[in-house]
């Protein structure tokens, strides 16, 4: 597993907020906000994979897009490799783009159907480099080799490929400019089980070879367990738990994480018979009108009086383990720290496989 000691943070997100205004009437007056991402802070270290999980509508994709400034965030700061992303003007931002790339969920929708594979993979090279035609083609072939696409298919169109191969095209495009950081937004959600494993293995190989840093956004908790070094769980626009992978799967602390993990069915009939499931009642509240106090208080099986009044804060209650829940108020106390940067002298983060 990943060891954070002595590794510098590549991505630092502090107090990120992304509100979408709700307007009403002919004058489109501002009547409220959809708080898609509400005060989110975390750090990703160089070469690390941070898994960002949560259910649909929890703001995980919005968070990923806001970090790359595909949206204009409402508040907060994002520093990638020492450079302030949110403060950069358009010219500077454009020069920073090669460093940070994205792989989208739906390869069908994110690849232009009228461009050939070579043109799709080569487009970032056209935009950001001054390579000659021959150099560009060489680079395109190199990228196709890297992601396991046959060079002979360079002049084919996306519809001629299967879902898994299309996602490889998307990955090759993201790799074209030698990025340091890639946001993978549900890259395997649209793929079949047997193909998912191929793509995840490819992402891992590329990380080893190229030293990439990933933000891996997914609702598939078992895949995140496989690929991520640390895992952040989002609920209604906020990170409610952030922990090293082995720790969070072995012992989830937040009641929501507990329910989420217990809801994942196990491909084993014997285990399924005895498994205790925490069934949450109701649905996720609207992010336009989150409940008072803790966001999870409307569905929490362990809800207390304080939860309906006071909003909990993401606090490091054990080395490297951050949780935002009043259940852990006593144990927290001393180590309360905003911004989920794990301490380096911890024992919870284990090294090696």
């Amino acid at each position: 597993m990943f060891d954070t000691a002595g590794v510098k943070p590549l991505i630092e997100v502090k107090g990120l907020k992304m509100y979408f205004p709700i307007t009403a009437g002919v004058f489109r007056s501002h009547v409220g906000d959809v708080k898609a991402v509400d005060d989110v802070s975390f750090t990703i270290f160089e070469g690390e994979t941070l898994g960002l999980v949560g259910e649909s509508g929890c703001g995980k994709s919005t968070c990923g897009r806001a970090i790359l400034r595909l949206y204009e965030p409402t508040a907060g700061s994002v520093v990638i490799d020492g450079q302030d992303v949110l403060g950069a003007d358009q010219g500077l931002l454009r020069r920073m783009r090669p460093k940070m790339q994205m792989v989208f969920q739906d390869p069908q929708a994110s690849l232009n159907p009228r461009m050939t594979v070579a043109a799709i993979i080569g487009e970032p090279l056209d935009e950001h480099t001054t390579l000659s035609k021959a150099e560009k083609l060489a680079r395109i072939y190199e990228l196709m080799d890297q992601v396991g696409l046959n060079r002979d298919f360079a002049n084919r169109y996306p519809h001629e490929f299967s879902g898994g191969q299309r996602q490889r095209i998307g990955i090759a495009r993201a790799l074209a400019l030698n990025p340091k950081f890639i946001v993978c937004d549900e890259p395997i959600a649209a793929l079949d089980v047997s193909i998912q494993a191929q793509v995840v293995n490819l992402l891992e190989e590329l990380q080893d070879r190229l030293g990439l840093t990933y933000l891996f956004i997914s609702h598939d908790l078992s895949m995140v367990r496989h690929i991520a070094d640390r895992v952040a769980v989002m609920y209604l626009g906020q990170i409610i738990e952030l922990s090293p992978r082995d720790a969070i799967y072995a012992e989830p602390l937040h009641p929501y994480t507990q329910a989420l993990l217990s809801a994942v069915p196990e491909p084993d009939p014997e285990a399924e018979k005895t498994r205790r499931r925490i069934i949450l009642t109701g649905d996720v509240p609207s992010p336009a009108n989150p409940p008072k106090g803790c966001n999870f208080c409307t569905r929490c099986p362990k809800v207390m009086d304080i939860c309906r009044v006071e909003e909990p804060r993401l606090t490091e209650i054990r080395p490297g383990r951050f949780v935002s829940c009043h259940l852990y108020d006593e144990t927290a106390g001393a180590t309360a720290a905003p911004g989920a940067t794990p301490s380096n002298n911890n024992t919870a983060i284990q090294q090696g496989e």
Partner: protein, 340 residues
């Protein structure tokens, strides 16, 4: 499950093809299975393996053209559904066979209230008047756990959340007390916590209403939790079929074995590397003359190229379409080639 009971649904040698501009696509090839009353049959397979097309062929839900059910017999309580007129089929859908579709947003009509859509089958199939249908509709919403049912009947589909919408779909499918309920990936579009709610609901309703259920999914975890029997499809064929515990414990088809290995788990040991099934599923341009899995199979040998394997019995109520005998660690001999 009631053993030896007369099956409520018997499918024999079902073949469905699609006519496309590129030629025929053989989506379903000689599929045979039966379903006993009260049984929950889980159907797994990748997209394009023919699982949805098989089920939709049964009750004539595929548009024709391009689809054509070319061969086979589908006996529902002794009635051959493939020989039925459209009117006869319509009478079977609803009271006989209920269907839950994958995406509740596209299968509910956005311009009618949920109450209207629930009353419609009740009035058409059950001969209820509007008043009686209204009462029954409310009961159905309560049955699937939608709070404040009376008021919610007046709401339109967009006013429901994804999980609630899927509950409405289930309520509509249950409206006419079907003998068989076919659920096509009913929880795939839902979040895990909502999926857990729906799965609990189905388990509960099944005991209460005693119907047979066909549950199509690609999630082996879901099958492990709710099914009595599992049917694995690949390339338009059933490649393995058997009691769920037996198949998970002793998978006898290389595809099932590989599939079980590729699924990572949130519990237990974490494998350092995911095992993969290399290659792509086949495109079925012609009726298969060889094993459809051979190109991706590590076990494949000469015979797999030459012949399409029949389903060999490999255990009690368990069969697999593979020439390799995992118990003996050797290829099967022709003498065993008994059809199941």
């Amino acid at each position: 499950m009631p053993d030896g009971a007369q099956p409520v649904l018997e499918v024999e040698g079902l073949k469905t093809i699609f006519r496309t501009r590129g030629g025929e696509v053989h989506a379903v090839n000689s599929v045979s299975f039966d379903l006993k009353p009260g049984e929950l049959l889980g159907v797994v397979g990748e997209s394009g393996s023919g699982k949805s097309v098989t089920m939709m062929s049964l009750i004539g839900l595929l548009p024709s053209p391009p689809a054509e059910v070319r061969e086979g017999k589908v006996l529902f309580n002794g009635l051959d559904l493939l020989k039925c007129t459209p009117e006869e089929l319509r009478a079977v859908r609803g009271p006989g066979v209920g269907f839950i579709f994958q995406d509740p947003m596209t299968s509910l009509n956005p311009v009618f209230t949920v109450g209207y859509q629930l009353r419609e089958p009740l009035m058409k199939h059950m001969g209820m008047d509007k008043k009686a249908a209204q009462v029954r509709a409310k009961e159905l919403l309560e049955l699937v756990g939608i709070p404040d049912a009376e008021r919610r009947l007046k709401d339109y589909p967009h006013q429901f959340s994804g999980g609630m919408r899927q509950r409405v779909m289930i309520a509509i499918a249950l409206a006419c007390d079907p003998k068989v309920l076919i659920a096509d990936e009913p929880t795939t579009a839902l979040d895990v916590t909502i999926q857990a709610q729906i799965l609990e609901l189905v388990k509960e309703l099944r005991v209460k209403l005693g119907m047979a259920i066909v549950w199509i999914t690609h999630d082996l975890g879901v099958i492990a939790g709710i099914a009595d029997r599992i049917m694995v499809m690949y390339g338009g064929q059933i490649v393995e079929q058997g009691p769920v515990a037996e198949v998970f414990d002793k998978p006898r088809h290389p595809y099932t074995r590989a599939l079980l290995k590729t699924v990572p788990s949130v519990r237990g040991e974490r494998a350092p590397k995911l095992s993969v099934i290399e290659g792509q599923p086949p495109i079925l341009r012609a009726a298969p003359s060889a094993c459809p899995f051979r190109a991706r199979c590590a076990q494949a040998f000469a015979r797999c190229e030459a012949e399409n394997p029949a389903r060999f019995p490999v255990g009690p109520g368990h069969d697999a379409a593979c020439f390799w005998d995992y118990d003996a660690g050797a290829p099967r001999t022709t003498a065993e080639a008994a059809h199941v």
